[in-house]
């Protein structure tokens, strides 16, 4: 099966899809465990979780922290502004 996503770093708990994918499509990419299916359609460039991420836990891409989960995120679920927050530039919290 042709790959449809990239896990940039082995420590990442998210992958980036490299083409538009539909709901219930298997995520296929290097270092991505078999059997994870998308829970919704995703546009190219968007992220899906490959592990469960609980509220407040780190979201890892490029092997670095890119934000924190604001709610529970299941494997295969879209990871974006609706369920992760930034830890930086938070003037709203100051």
């Amino acid at each position: 099966m042709k790959m449809n996503c990239i896990r940039v770093n082995i420590n990442d708990n998210v992958v980036t899809v490299i083409r538009d994918v539909t709901a219930d499509e298997a995520l296929v990419g290097k270092g991505v465990s078999a059997g994870i299916k998308t829970t919704s359609g995703l546009q190219m460039g968007h992220k899906a979780a490959v592990e469960e991420i609980r509220p407040g836990e780190k979201v890892i891409k490029y092997g670095e922290v890119i934000g924190y989960a604001s709610q529970i995120i299941k494997p295969g679920e879209h990871v974006h502004v609706h369920n992760i927050v930034s830890g930086r530039g938070r003037g709203d919290l100051k």
Binding site: M3, G45, Y62, I66, S86, G87, R88, G89, G91
Partner: protein, 385 residues
Amino acid sequence: MKFLGYIRPDGSVGVRNHVLVLSSVVCANHISQKIADALPGTAVFCHSSGCGQLGADKEQTQRTLDGIAMNPNIAAVLVVSLGCEGSSAERMVEKMQASGRPAALVRIQECGGTTAAVNAGIDIVRKMHEKCMRQDREEADISDLSVSLECGGSDATSGISANPLVGWVSDRLISLGARVILSETPEMIGAEHILSARAATPEVGKRVIKIVKDVEESANSMHVDLRGTQPTPGNIEGGLSTIEEKSMGCLAKAGTSKVAEVVRYGEIPSSKGLVIMDTPGFDVESVTGMVAGGSQVVLFTTGRGTPVGSPLAPVIKITGNPNVASWMKENIDFDASPVTLGDESLERAGERLFQKLISVVAGEQTASEILGHSETGITRIGPSL
């Protein structure tokens, strides 16, 4: 490694041979544009600053305009001044003359109005063209290049393919002795620890941390979430969720080299190798700052697609987004989407991009040059008074 460039009397090397009309203040923009329009092939730099500025903000604008006048791609410059502005048109002329190149000044208030100033300017620029068009390209070295790195209208493909590709070329350029400038300080938020760890000296490392801290504190003083501005709405639509994610992608442009120096906006660096310039993430202002810092050519990645260019320097537009590569084809110089899709290795595409850069510095026109893009913007750090 050699290429053919325009060797200036001060030893700097241009990749273009522009006669430039430089407006010293917003009040001189229209006349500057009229002069340039009368003589096709004339570069023009207009902007919205040059008066009502104070302290460090005033000095930054002056430094930028001085640098624009003296960029190695400029063969000769005509500075158009109103006559009563805060910026010093004389200083721009003196700096250019000190570099051994022709420079002249037209003062609108001394000429007696728009028409007289336009006519005086056209006379001067025509003579500059006659003189400068005789200059031939001569053998120069890649180490004479100062290459700007920029990303604008980023999406997730920028960090996955286009920026790592630029990073590959950046490392190659540095190994050949060139200077590469990374900018966009807000897009180092969340990635500053990686850059500071790569600093050539502890002082440079501290400076990286400080410029990022300063820009984050400045953003926080607005008491809103940075998200929505950085990343922008378009970045978010393209899949980028946070500034940290955008920064990690942005950082990939800088390859793996050590950070040799950190410079202020519009400042001419003294080191070769990887230099960081403290600029906004706003691409047009960032490119203007790096070109003022003496950069002759820009490697510009875009995932969403942007047409912007520079009046002084060729801008090589690179996209890793296959849709943009076809939909905005006329604005794109290099299609990196085969890397995104896993169809081409980074090394192979890097070699292709490096060859593209070599062709462009030797004279090949980029999309933004052919289409006439010449956007400019000088960033501000103080209020207008």
